[in-house]
């Protein structure tokens, strides 16, 4: 039955997340950005409240929540500040991989750290798109069963803090592989990051002849695994972006309701109120497309990957539009750091740059549609 009603448990969890976002995350956003790191006590609180282990498997002491629940909680958290949510020292984008391969022997030492309740930040490097400009300076060579990595990645989230790195790649014979690095040596290039997500540990990973024998998957199996993890990550990222959208929408609504010009609240000018209406629609649309995709993942539908592309495409477009509009509606005040919206616009742009090109998502989704038979998928 078509229903937009969250379960009682979801509502309760979201309420806790939203309070935490407003009372704790939002107030620490600027300081975390300035320190280039989330304040430790905040990370600890987030961990205690289980916000960092929503995706992790139960066997690892995670909550292993369905995606439809996670997207609601992540949205609520990111309402506080996306920069902080992206900077929590967590399994990050590797969490989905840990969930899919929780029993893999190579992962048991990492599992042990989680069971011991210590944080163990991880980064995920996706090198599978070998045509991507800038991304192809790195090589992954199969050397009699071991893999040798050479080169420098593009900026990756949590790179500065990561104790484990998961690599998705195609090797020199164009075979897909998923590799694990944790006791090897790699370097993190200090960069000059200013645009946004500054607390998220952005950095380029530099591999100088790094060799690993820890192969989590290979060939067809790796391809399937990569797609599964990408699907989940696209949706989880989209949900975070949606939280940022809602924050910007609410902030701009309140501001324009109070700010006066030409003798009245600026909300009374349609150039203003109609923009707010558009922001509200776009925020809701992104929410619904995310839910649509999340449900399909939870059902294990073959459509899930394609719907995740759709959700993230719209979330990218939406978060850019809404955060830009928020700055615009605050006028000069939007541009200065005494108000949060300038940061949100910067964070949004950094986020969409990190998580894939909108046009590319569309092209891939379109190619999938052209292959499919029949109508627009409803369910």
């Amino acid at each position: 039955m078509i229903s937009f009603q969250a379960t009682d448990e979801e509502l309760a969890f979201v309420e806790v997340a939203k309070d935490f976002a407003k009372d704790r995350i939002r107030v620490l956003a600027r300081t975390s950005e300035n320190h280039l790191k989330v304040k430790e006590d905040l990370s600890e609180e987030a961990m205690e409240l289980s916000f960092l282990s929503l995706e992790l498997p139960e066997a690892w002491d995670g909550l292993e929540l369905p995606l439809i629940s996670q997207v609601q909680i992540l949205k609520a958290l990111s309402y506080g500040d996306l920069g902080i949510v992206q900077g929590f020292p967590s399994a990050g984008d590797a969490a989905s991989l840990f969930r899919c391969l929780s029993e893999h022997t190579e992962l048991q030492t990492i599992k042990a750290t989680y069971l011991a309740n210590t944080d163990h930040p991880s980064a995920l490097v996706d090198l599978t798109d070998t045509e991507k400009p800038f991304g192809n300076t790195i090589t992954v060579r199969n050397n009699n069963g071991d893999y040798i990595l050479n080169g420098t990645t593009e900026p990756v989230r949590l790179a500065q803090f990561a104790e484990t790195i998961v690599v998705f790649a195609r090797d020199n014979e164009d075979v897909a592989v998923v590799l694990l690095l944790n006791d090897q040596e790699w370097l993190v290039e200090d960069g000059d990051y200013r645009i946004g997500l500054l607390a998220s540990g952005l950095g380029k990973l530099k591999f100088n002849h790094v060799s690993t024998g820890k192969i989590l998957a290979k060939g067809k199996e790796a391809e399937r695994l990569i797609e599964k993890v990408q699907t989940r990550n696209y949706i989880l990222q989209a949900a975070k972006q949606n939280g940022l959208m809602e924050a910007a929408l609410d902030y701009a609504t309140q501001y324009t309701a109070e700010r006066k010009a030409f003798g009245q609240e600026i909300a009374k000018f349609q150039g203003v109120s109609f923009k707010i209406a558009k922001m509200a629609m776009e925020t809701r649309i992104v929410n619904h497309l995310i839910w649509n995709a999340a449900i399909k993942v939870d059902e294990g539908s073959f459509e899930a990957f394609s719907l995740a592309l759709r959700a993230l495409h719209r979330a990218h477009k939406g978060v850019r539009f809404v955060t830009d509009a928020a700055v615009q509606l605050l006028g000069g005040h939007g541009f200065i750091q005494e108000f949060p919206v300038e940061k949100w616009m910067r964070d949004a742009q950094a986020q969409v740059a990190l998580y894939g090109s909108e046009r590319e998502f569309l092209a891939r989704r379109g190619a999938a549609l052209l292959e499919e038979q029949g109508q627009v998928s409803v369910e």
């Binding site: 039955m1 078509i2 229903s3 937009f4 009603q5 969250a6 379960t7 439809i68 609504t253 309140q254 309701a257 109070e258 609240e265 909300a267 009374k268 349609q270 109120s273 109609f274 707010i276 209406a277 558009k278 509200a280 629609m281 809701r284 649309i285 619904h288 497309l289 839910w291 649509n292 449900i295 759709r310 495409h313 719209r314 046009r359 569309l362 092209a363 891939r364 989704r365 379109g366 190619a367 549609l369 052209l370 109508q375 627009v376 409803v378 369910e379």
Partner: protein, 401 residues
Amino acid sequence: MISFELSEQQKQIKEMTHWFAENEIRPIALEADKLGKVPDEWLQQVNRMGIQLNTSSFSGGKGSSTGKKKREREGNRMGVLATEEMAWGDPAITLSLPGAGLGGPPIESSGTPEQKERFLSIFTTDKPRWGAYALTEPEAGSDASGVRTTARKVDGGYILNGQKIFITNGGRASWVVVFATVDSKLGRAGQRAFVVEKGTPGFSCTKLVKKMGLRANETAELLLEDCFVPTEYLLGGEEFYDSSDSKPSGFQVAMKTFDSTRPIVASMAIGIARAAYEYTLDMVKKEYPKQGKYFYLASEILAEAEEDIQAARLLTWEAAWMADMGIANAKEAAMCKAYAGQMALDVCAKSLELLGPTGLDGHLVEKLFRDVKVFDIFEGTNEIQHLVIARRQYAPFGVRV
């Protein structure tokens, strides 16, 4: 639990209406557009089958509520699902289907039991009949408070004088819900809704207008000249207006219906967009190269169109779900209508872009493009929907925009 899965009943109605749209409506779509009307024999035949347009909820959806457990109300969701399919077949024909049409919701929401019985029971299978909704006037469109048609109280009823324009199915309707004012100085509070029957002396259809699209659907101008309407035809009865004191009651009757009709109109726009999209997808599959510049161009355009269609659909489902749950949905109803109306035109334009000059010559998409524009205008223009959304958005801050 959040779910976008259709219930059994919803699946059935979707399949049934799709079958009908595909096999009965679509085959005559281009012909009806050319003729400027839906063929009478077709309407008679369809009416005998019991197919009607009911904009508050689809008439096939009531079901018998047997058993102790009360079934969740799903009429609004069924309504939007069915309407999308029908409009996918053809929107002008859908709007011409017999039934109370846009006149149904005000009677259902504000009519007395006797009025409901009298006006809603006439839609039987012996002969096609229509209802209509007449709010718009030459000087009152978006600003419905500007209605100038007057209602003067006389013994046993009211005398109506004025003109109504752009009334869907207004000429053929057996009755029309007409909005008039008892005292223009009272503004909205002076408004009343009457049901005026066809053939009432002083009530006439003066013109059928020619349009860019939706050509098969009748759009009429109506004239009321010293037209006497008995008190029993005042919607809700006189007490209804007394009891609501100085509240703008007739105006509220007009506005309240939008919360259920806007999702229906949105779903029509979605049906049109989907028709254009599917037609184009099919053509691209057949005619476009499988790689290279044109393939990527088509992939991106189609993916964006499909995404936009689903975005509009989910907004519409949400508004309909809220209506079924009894949750206030004015904002969501406006959101889905605003988004779907604009999206649908955009999808039709994108489809024409992909078809190129070929699309201009005898292809369905050309017609859909002409049909779709009005979905961003009637039932409240795009701008008015934005206003409704913005008002709801600012309400918590006590600012009225």
